[in-house]
């Protein structure tokens, strides 16, 4: 478990699958995501088992009261370059815009930079998802470029934005507390 100020990040597991199914089938939740519903309970069980088999680092985000509200994870890790790509989904809509997502991202970034020694963490988001981009910037991400006509969703051709934060950016925002 990784602990933030407002959330804890625990391993994604079968016990939460009904929540995953609820979130991933909600068009409002998936509006900006790559995922295209519908998804069944069996498909989500398969997803959890695949994460486990492949050793992927994917977390379920819990409030400090223990309520699951979404998922966050390292979708790709390239150790050779010490680089990771992350993704996040807050599935509980009543928790949008209240800092839970930002705290989950900050908690994961702390782990990436301070415990794993990553040099760079990046993500891709829909260019029209301005709310998410504001939240990512608040966490220290910077826009690196526009990926034109990168994908389609529901018949819409989408431009994606590449955002990244480097270890130097992270430690400028969060100086090490000292010690050898």
């Amino acid at each position: 478990m990784l602990s933030g100020e407002k959330v804890d990040l625990v391993a994604a597991e079968r016990a939460y699958v009904l929540m995953y199914v609820k979130w991933i089938n909600d068009p409002e939740v998936t509006q900006w995501l790559k995922a295209d519903p519908p998804f069944s309970v069996e498909m989500e069980h398969g997803w959890v088992d695949r994460l486990r088999r492949e050793g992927k680092t994917t977390f379920t985000i819990l409030t400090k009261e223990g309520r699951p509200i979404g998922n966050i994870g390292m979708e790709e890790v390239v150790w050779r370059y010490r680089r990771a790509t992350i993704g996040i989904m807050i599935g509980e809509k009543d928790h949008w815009g209240k800092g839970y997502g930002s705290d989950a991202i900050t908690t994961l970034l702390r782990y990436c930079f301070e415990e794993l020694g990553m040099r760079r963490v990046d993500l891709i988001t829909d260019s029209e998802n301005h709310r998410a981009q504001r939240a990512y910037k608040k966490c220290g991400f910077r826009v690196e470029g526009l990926m034109k006509q990168y994908r389609t969703k529901n018949g819409r051709i989408i431009d994606d934005v590449m955002m990244a934060i480097l270890a130097t950016d992270w430690f400028a925002l969060h100086p090490p507390s000292g010690g050898a």
Binding site: M1, L2, S3, L9, E13, V48, T57, Y111, G179
Partner: protein, 176 residues
Amino acid sequence: MLGGESVGLVPLQTTDELALYKWLNDPRVRKASGRQIWKPAYSLEQVQDLIRERLAQPSRFDLVIVDLHAERPVGLIELAHIQPMSDSAQMTLLWGEKVDDDMATEALILAAGYAFNSQGLHRLWTRVPVKEEGVLALFRKVGFKKEGVLREDHFGDGRWQDSMLLSLLSAEARPC
């Protein structure tokens, strides 16, 4: 069970899954173990996989430390990389619950006695982050001697960190 005055050691079993699930999801426990192998979080299914994989490996033996008074598991001693050619093994610790110094010392002496007397090993070695002074002190207390420093061998707390390599030979072990 290998029994001492206050602690006992029993082989790891599949029924220990809930204790390991709790310990491995506690960042303080993982950090104090000084090992880089642990994931940041474990699902119950992942803990079950981990126990099954360990039980299937002939080159390792995992002992659960039991507090005999409270009758509960408090930690894990791992004997890994058991090498029959050199009669050596790596010994590592995972303290799941807070225990006093005497209990911790007794558990280590018991495990070393088991490794030397029952498994017929000749040498135990361990690698401890230099920052983990409490763990280093514990190993030294039971007789482990410093062999050297592995410079910047792992990343943690925002920088590369050193580890100390220590070993204990069967002739140096304290009696159980």
